[in-house]
Point group: C2
Chain length 186, copies 2
DNA sequence: CGTCATGTATAGCAGCGTTATATATCCTCG
DNA sequence: CGAGGATATATAACGCTGCTATACATGACG
């Protein structure tokens, strides 16, 4: 699933940009700074993608929609997604990484407020949904799991996390299913 | 959580081993071959660790125990765990990667046979448990989530996946809790 | 003992990220 | 309007990387 990549070199990038090696140093401060800027761009892009998900009156639907949009964005830009989580290089503005996580916590909080979830911490639910989706995505992006696994296991994982948070089994499946297809652009 | 690492160089390794650069080429065929051997070693080590988990008459307990042992092994050897999933380098014997996954599927199949799970594919349950654990582990190992998240969200994720597979909520929590502590050596 | 094969050490190549130095460009101020 | 200083760029070089080619040592076998 991951596009084959020839190694990314500073000299090669500068040459392709029609400038010299030194420009990269004045503008990004070297190779780690450049990757940090790439990471940042990835988080900004992700936040914009998640912001396109319109909240409904069904918070579990919204959780699934956000998860699908998250996965959709990662599949559309697999190398960027991998780079985003290369924590060996610093993020120029570390706060941007939280921006993508906020709407997920918000939807979980609404699910709690609406009585869909039991006495759980919304941040914990969001964390579990994120971790599960992250793992599934990485396994698919690195060709450990086939691409179809995303469409089949993704909603199943979202439903499982919501069930674990206390959602009503009778409603959960339908909410997740509709939310997932609403968030997935394909 | 990940130990800081100075870059791994072929020349440095050969020097530390008291031999010359060429020995690495005759024995491993170069840098990719060396990383492939490292990956393989990681999977063999993981399979040995999972084999130490003794099956009980509670398959959900066993699933949680295997998950805990999996996480325990990854935390004990974080850099090896990361290397295992660097699919850019080939595995000398690709089958060994399946060895670690087999006991998970086996426990899920027993849960189905015992009526703990509904009409689900055991392999799907194992995949979801694996993906969720993998994601949580990577987020913890790369310092995106704090180390405590493993002990709190790990069992919660395992329980959610089992609930999603149809396990009885009244029994699930206890099985997962006991299984997790049985598999976690810490 | 001679021959062949196998594994090792040395030397060199092209490429990398990075740094130091020199040059050009632009904004500011007398 | 023209000089001065700051900023961005280009060139050249350094040490390092993985890798290859070549020469050398060591052991098995007829």
């Amino acid at each position: 699933m991951l596009a084959a990549r020839e190694p990314v070199t500073l000299r090669g990038l500068a040459g392709r940009a029609g400038t010299s090696t030194m420009a990269v140093y004045t503008h990004f401060g070297g190779m780690p700074g450049l990757w940090g800027a790439v990471r940042q761009e990835g988080f900004v892009h992700l936040a914009a993608r998640l912001a396109r998900v319109q909240p409904t009156d069904d918070p579990v639907h919204d959780l699934a929609a956000l998860g699908a949009a998250y996965a959709d964005n990662a599949v559309a830009h697999p190398l960027l997604y991998r780079a985003m989580f290369d924590t060996a290089v610093d993020l120029p503005d570390p706060e941007v990484a939280d921006g993508g996580f906020a709407p997920l916590v918000g939807a979980a909080a609404r699910a709690c407020a609406d009585g869909r979830f039991g006495a759980v911490d919304p941040a914990d639910v969001a964390t579990r949904l994120w971790a599960a989706g992250h793992g599934l995505l990485l396994l698919v992006l690195t060709d450990v799991l086939p691409a179809e696994a995303l469409g089949s296991q993704g909603p199943a994982l979202a439903e499982a996390v919501c069930l674990g948070a206390g959602d009503d089994p009778a409603r959960c499946a339908a909410s997740v299913r509709s939310g997932w297809s609403a968030g997935w652009d394909g």
